[in-house]
Symmetry: D3
Amino acid sequence: MNEKIMNLDHLGIKRFFNLDTNTYRDGALPSETKELLALTASAVLRCNDCIDYHLEQCAKSGFSKDEIIDALNVALVVGGSIVIPHLRHAVATLEILEEDGTLTESNSKSTSR
Amino acid sequence: MNEKIMNLDHLGIKRFFNLDTNTYRDGALPSETKELLALTASAVLRCNDCIDYHLEQCAKSGFSKDEIIDALNVALVVGGSIVIPHLRHAVATLEILEEDGTLTESNSKSTSR
Amino acid sequence: MNEKIMNLDHLGIKRFFNLDTNTYRDGALPSETKELLALTASAVLRCNDCIDYHLEQCAKSGFSKDEIIDALNVALVVGGSIVIPHLRHAVATLEILEEDGTLTESNSKSTSR
Amino acid sequence: MNEKIMNLDHLGIKRFFNLDTNTYRDGALPSETKELLALTASAVLRCNDCIDYHLEQCAKSGFSKDEIIDALNVALVVGGSIVIPHLRHAVATLEILEEDGTLTESNSKSTSR
Amino acid sequence: MNEKIMNLDHLGIKRFFNLDTNTYRDGALPSETKELLALTASAVLRCNDCIDYHLEQCAKSGFSKDEIIDALNVALVVGGSIVIPHLRHAVATLEILEEDGTLTESNSKSTSR
Amino acid sequence: MNEKIMNLDHLGIKRFFNLDTNTYRDGALPSETKELLALTASAVLRCNDCIDYHLEQCAKSGFSKDEIIDALNVALVVGGSIVIPHLRHAVATLEILEEDGTLTESNSKSTSR
């Protein structure tokens, strides 16, 4: 689908997508921390597609399920009960990521710190 | 002012404030990471008072100015140009935190990782 | 699905769900008034799952269809035409609640006042 | 200031303001219940000016401080900690309404039910 | 579905729908410009149903695909990457509007200016 | 203040600001139409600083007061009564733009179309 957006051939949109990709590269903060920030931002802004994308990135970055759930809890408290349906959605996506092996038991960013 | 809210003596509100405080204690994620998540969430939800509170907590947690700015950049890209006035506000608050010594040159969470 | 969230065994999330449940118990305001407040809040925040949950609670609390529609009208005026798709969703849910007998003709909170 | 908006002489805006006023007249729900709904909606949408307006209407309608606080607690739980600065603002406004006699001790909607 | 809303027979809701329709008639701004404004507003508020409705109106008003995409780019920059899933949705709807002939090659509002 | 943001020397933020500026250059849509879109988007997202910036750009682009008010009416209907405080703010800013000569009687984009 992003291919279709690229095919629109709108320079501004192409630049935005490029900027978006670069945002999550290592900088003052490591890439994985920025993925966790984006996950929390997506949850309080209540965007399921965005939550799914950043959940996958967080799992690939090596965060454990418990760490991801702890980040989603911050989103729940900041954003309130209106976030609950998106928490449910996230938990269902996490199950899929466990089943397909993206999210593994040995994942843990914070214990390695 | 929070004292006045406590004086309302509403059990639900008291419990929410207690829950809110506990959210940022060390858990699966360390306290400081959760403060950075809350800062980003506050920025995309565009709440200056919340931004100021979590900026101070992030500075006290040892994040450097560059790391905090990198987190705010995630908020800018996720939330768009509507976040710019709040980015300006955050930069002014960071100056105050530098001047009063809360934010120091030696701060750095990610280089120590 | 809430069971799966409970199974996450995250103390903060469990406490939030407990707090959320207690919010709607009788207090200075009766339980049913708080359900109507939450319905309106869900509508202006445009969350269909939340609207459905609170519609059912409002119907069970004895509010009539006309009273519920009057509350949704407040949400429409406060939140604007962006609320219209959620008003449509709510009307479809109300039909289901009428068909299954949750919302009855004899319901009326305000006429009994 | 609303006078200046009327002086713009834009038919659509005038009609919106007229519609807005009529929304809070007695209907299937009594006027005061709709003011309380609008207060909660204003709090979750985080608009201080709107909160102040509806707080005054709720106080004039006879709601007690405890009832108003209970409504704001629903907003806090639905909308999350991002609502806290607006809760603080509301508490300050309630103090003013107590001092000027708009909000009185004898107010109580729900005990009369 | 709007018929069902009309059948609710709520005077306030009927008036709101009437007001909503009149908003997009020629005024100080031509009708088509106001449809483009509503499309952008719908995109930053992230409402797919609203986006679809105003996309169709914009196509019928004679805007070209490039002009509509340029408007959506404004929404993307103002609203941030959280708008991307809605941009994807809009691009899929534009394809349908091209296939059914609502959006035609010869459309162009700005070249005629 | 934007100078201070540039001095942060964060490549991502600099690129976002550059992208933001380029968004409003003539493209498939003329620059002034895009300023009007951004004004409406800023109003429904309820950001006074953003409203002020785009009001000035719209006035400089040659839109008349009536055309700008007609755009703000679209924002009011889409965004609801929660937009009213921002409409008030915009009307006060328009007065300043009239007084300093930025907004002139002879302005009119649509009559020239």
